[in-house]
Each structure stands twice: as C-alpha cells, then as structure tokens.
Symmetry: C2
Subunit: 334 residues, 2 copies
C-alpha cells in the first residue's frame, strides 16, 4: 500500500511577513509502517504566532526550523494504521506533527485524546490545546490574579486572548479586552463577557485605558508588545504583573524591534514583567484540562475557530494571524 504524502518545507527565512515563496510544497509517498510505529492522517494544523520565530534564526525555546525541513506545527490527526501498542487505529492524537497531511511516527511526543468529549475535535487545538493551556497557566502562574483586580488583555478576540478574557471573568476579575475593529470588540464584551473593550484601530488606547481602568491595571496579559504595551506601562497599579506571552507586533519587524520605552514605570509601580513559555507547564496539563473542562461544561468558556482549508493555504493562514485578519483560533483544516 503506497500512501501519498504532501508537506510544506521551509525554503527561505522570511524577511518581514512570511511569503508563499518562503515555503515549498513537496509531494511524495510515506514509508511503510514498521513495528512500533503508526501512521497519522493530519486533520487540523494550529497556526501559532511563535511560528515566525521558529522560521528565523533567532534564539528561542525551540531551535530554528532548518532550511529544507518540514515546517514545525502543532496539529491533531487520526491514527490510520498502527503497529504501536499505545496508539490503535481510530485514535486521535495531538503533537508536533508538522505542516503535512500525514506522517509515520514512533509515537514519541504524541498525546491521545477523545474527540467525542469535546464540542468539536478542533477544540483540542484551542481551549484544550496549547492555546488554552497558555491562557490558563500564563494568567494563573505568572499573572497571579486576584478577584476584584483589573485585568487587561491584548489581542482579546484572538485564540489565547479570548481564553484569557473568559478565565479572568471566571476568576472574578474586572476584564478589559483590546481588539481591532468594532466587530471584534462587540465579540469581546458580548460573547466573551469582558467588562469593556478597546478598539485599538479606532481609539487612543492610552486614553481608553485611563477611562476603563481608572484605578490602574493589576495584570496585563501581553500578546502583542509594541505601542499597546507602552500604553499599559503608563497605567500600572502598584505591584502589577505583566505576562509576556509574545510580541506578535514585533515578530515581523525588519530591523530594530521597538523596545518598551515606558519600561521605567516598572520601577515606580514596583511592577514585574515576566516571560512565559507553555512548554514549562505541559507536565501539568491534566490540572488545566480538568478545570477548563468543568468551566466549558458550565458554559463559561467558549472557543471560536477560524478555519482555512488546504495545506497549500498555510502561508495565507499564517499571515492572517500577523495582520489580525483572523477571528478566533486560526487553524488549517485538511
């Protein structure tokens, strides 16, 4: 049995926004499944802001993707063929499967899950995947939230941000979400339940923060960096915590990154800015999944997906995340 295989390989390190020509689609066949191996058909590929970093030569928590290698990606898929005792045919698995329509794996790094327990199997890539775990541990462990405190979340309609907004509300915080455009802002206050939303495309973020956070900001969950981080730094409360989950507005900058010019506010506010990477908390996934599952069943956590079909549309999906065109967790569906 010959199984056709298509994969997107990294062809060039991007200069600014990732281009189609930074990738090469290669077709071929998969090797036969050997003893102790399994074959997976990829179903959904997660688009994550950190991908731009993996494509570059920058030092990160993972090594750069090598030129010519299959692009790294978290994905879920179904076991189609198996000679591995732990992963029978029909099981669904989650792992760093890469941007490809299938693969033969030895099972290392794979986690099984039951898609029937989720509202949609793709939620394994959002609330119950790295996205939800990032929101959960980033807010709880680094943000140290307390009921009654004011939480500001950037990219609040995005995958991680929307989860942070909802978790913040469950924990009794006053939540202000920042998003781009009236539609996303309406979603942040309406569907997600934030107390207020700020439209960074049409409002002065500094003024709006002053209005919506009159007593200052206790926790800022930063998904974007840039000017919004600077506006927040000006309005910190004493002992505020900034969770640095990414700097998406800075990932694609050619030349100088924009450093937070108001960082000295950390001194007057005795505040903390701390970096966070979800892989440090993966060993505690069960704890998060249990709590997120209970909140989901109680209707307190929702997840919006933004699906694009077809492996060849991966670069388009990636650019949507950096431009903010996506609305909900961006996935490629195969």
């Amino acid at each position: 049995m010959t199984i056709a295989h298509r994969a997107l390989h990294l062809a060039a390190r991007p200069d600014g926004d990732p281009k189609d020509s930074d990738f090469e689609l290669r077709s071929g066949t998969l090797p036969a499944v050997q003893e102790g191996e399994l074959r997976i058909a990829t179903k959904f590929i997660s688009i994550d802001p950190a991908m731009r970093v993996w494509m570059s030569e920058a030092k990160s928590y993972w090594p750069p993707v090598g030129l010519g290698d299959v692009m790294r990606a978290s994905a879920i898929g179904e076991v189609m063929e198996s000679k591995h005792p732990k992963f029978p045919v029909g099981m669904w698995v989650n792992g760093m499967l890469g941007v490809q329509d299938g693969l033969v794996s030895d099972g290392k790094g794979l986690r099984a899950f039951n898609p029937k327990l989720l509202p949609d199997p793709a939620w394994a890539m959002s609330i119950f995947g790295g996205t939800g775990l990032t929101a959960y541990f980033g807010l709880k462990e680094i943000g140290q939230p307390k009921a009654g405190e004011t939480l500001v979340v950037s990219a609040a309609s995005g995958a991680v941000g929307s989860a942070v907004v909802q978790i913040g509300k469950v924990l009794g915080m006053r939540v202000v979400g920042i998003a781009g455009g009236a539609e996303k802002c309406a979603y942040v206050t309406g569907e997600l339940g934030a107390d207020a939303a700020i439209d960074y495309k049409n409002e002065d973020v500094g003024k709006a923060l002053k209005q919506h956070c009159p007593d200052g900001i206790d926790v800022y969950f930063d998904n974007v960096g840039g000017e919004i981080l600077d506006a927040v730094l000006k309005r910190l409360r004493l002992k505020a915590r900034i969770v640095l989950c990414g700097g998406i507005s800075q990932y694609n900058v050619i030349g100088d990154v924009r450093g937070p010019v108001n960082y000295l506010s950390l001194i007057s506010a005795r505040a903390r800015m701390e970096g966070f990477v979800i892989i440090d908390y993966l060993h505690r996934s069960d704890e998060a999944v249990a709590e997120l599952g209970a909140w989901t069943q109680a209707g307190k956590i929702k997840s919006k997906l933004d699906l694009i079909d077809g492996l060849e549309n991966f670069p388009t999906a990636l650019r949507r995340v950096y431009s903010g065109a996506n609305f909900g967790k961006q996935l490629v569906r195969l």
Copy 2:
C-alpha cells in the same frame, strides 16, 4: 538668636542635564525653634540618581519637587538646638532634610543614629543609608540570589553598585561588574572583590559578557538601563531575574527614552524584570543594618565616598553622578 540659612530652590525643570540655572540659592534666616521642634545643622547631603526624576514632572514614587521649593534630598546632620524630647542637642539624624545648610524640624521622618559606631559618620549616607539598603533589599528580595549563580552589576564602582558587588560575593555568587574606565574596573575586581570587570567605555559589553558569563546571567542588578541592559538581555539564563533599580542613562534623555529592544528575550528565558523602590523596605531597615554591620565589621564590605564641599556645588555634584565622573558615593559636605 538669629540663625543664617541658605537653601537651594528648584528654579526650573531641567531640559537634559541639570544646569546651575535650574536652581536658585536663597539666603535668609531660620525661624525660632518652638516647643516640639529642633534645629539641625546639615553635615552631608546625598546625591541620588532619582533626583533628576524628582526635578521633572514625571510620575514617580514621590511627587515632583514644586518649582520654588527647596530641592529634595536625603541628608544627615547634627541637632544644634532642641525643644523636642526625642532629639536632644548633639544627636545625629538622618532624613529628607533637603539641599540646605540647616532647618527647623518637628522631628517627623527623622531617624537618629550614632556616628561613633560607623567608620565615618558619612557612611550613614552610603552603606548604612538608602544606598546600602537599596543594594541589600534589591539584591536579596528582587534578585533572589543563590550561591554559585552569576550576578552582573552595572555602575559597579558606584554607590549602590559597589555595595551590590560586595553583598553578592558575601552570598557566594560569581560577580561580574561593569564600570567605565580602567581605574574603576581595577577597583571593582581589586577592592570590591568581583570575579571580573567589564570596561564599558573601552570594551564591547556584549562580547565581554559572553566571555565572562559563559553559562549566562542569573541575576542582573540594573542601575543604568540603555545599551547595557540590552546586552544583558541577550545572555539571560533560564529563570533569570533583572532588578530594575534605576535607568540612570535614560533619566536625562531629551525626547524618547530608549526601550530595551531585546526585551522579548524575557520570554525565551522565562525571565523576570522587576522594579524596586527602597521606600517599600524602610520598615525593615534594622534587619539590613544588622547584617551589613556584621559584614562591615568582618571587613567584607567597604564604602568609598566622593565628597564635594559647599551647598552651591550641589548642581556640579549632581552632574558628576549622571556623567559617571564620581568615584564612590557622591556627597556634598557642608
């Protein structure tokens, strides 16, 4: 009895480096001492980097000094006349006495000390004053130092920095000090006992950090901000802590402050940058003074003073601190 009085008043908010014309020297007489009051003759005035912030309209942990007001300063002096039960004539006191040769006080905010217990009364303004307490609590509370870890200290020959270097060594750390010029670097390794010194005026700080901190930096005590902070950010170890004690290189900048462009390294290193102000720890002064006193008596902590005579030379002394011309704790002696 009429007591002559001279004081330096803030005449203008400085534009860049503080100028002589930003201050006005006013002469007059002190009021008579009333019941519950005392008269102090100022002996030493502390020059602190934060003074530039107090002179501006910037939000800080203290309100701006009002135009026309006596310039704020920490100082020590001797009680010359007293109708206050707690502060008899001959006692020495420490407090925010301002840039003036004397004052009549109601005693609020004053702390008495015994100058005979110190190598020099002026040490009450260095190791046993805000300077030493800043080094002690900043390193211990925010830096969370562990024996064997690598500590980098900027402005290492300066007042706070030299204390941090020595405390770091007492705590068993590997200490690398950054200072300007061969003489100061020799002092940092020789007198202060640092394991290595980097001359930022004549060396590439990034390369030198790579050489002297081959395994990365665990704790950075930042007195300066600017390019040195960025060089450090590139070489953080996992879970590193940056103590933001000031941004002296940025205080006098006209226009845009330079934000740390490498701040996203906090994410890959899961590191923390935290602001610190000594006034939060003043209620724990005794604890620090006891430990610093023991270390001083054991010869493990030294303090170098840089004295300038005369109230009218306060602006010169202040500029010396910003230009790095001072060598040791800068004081004005009256």
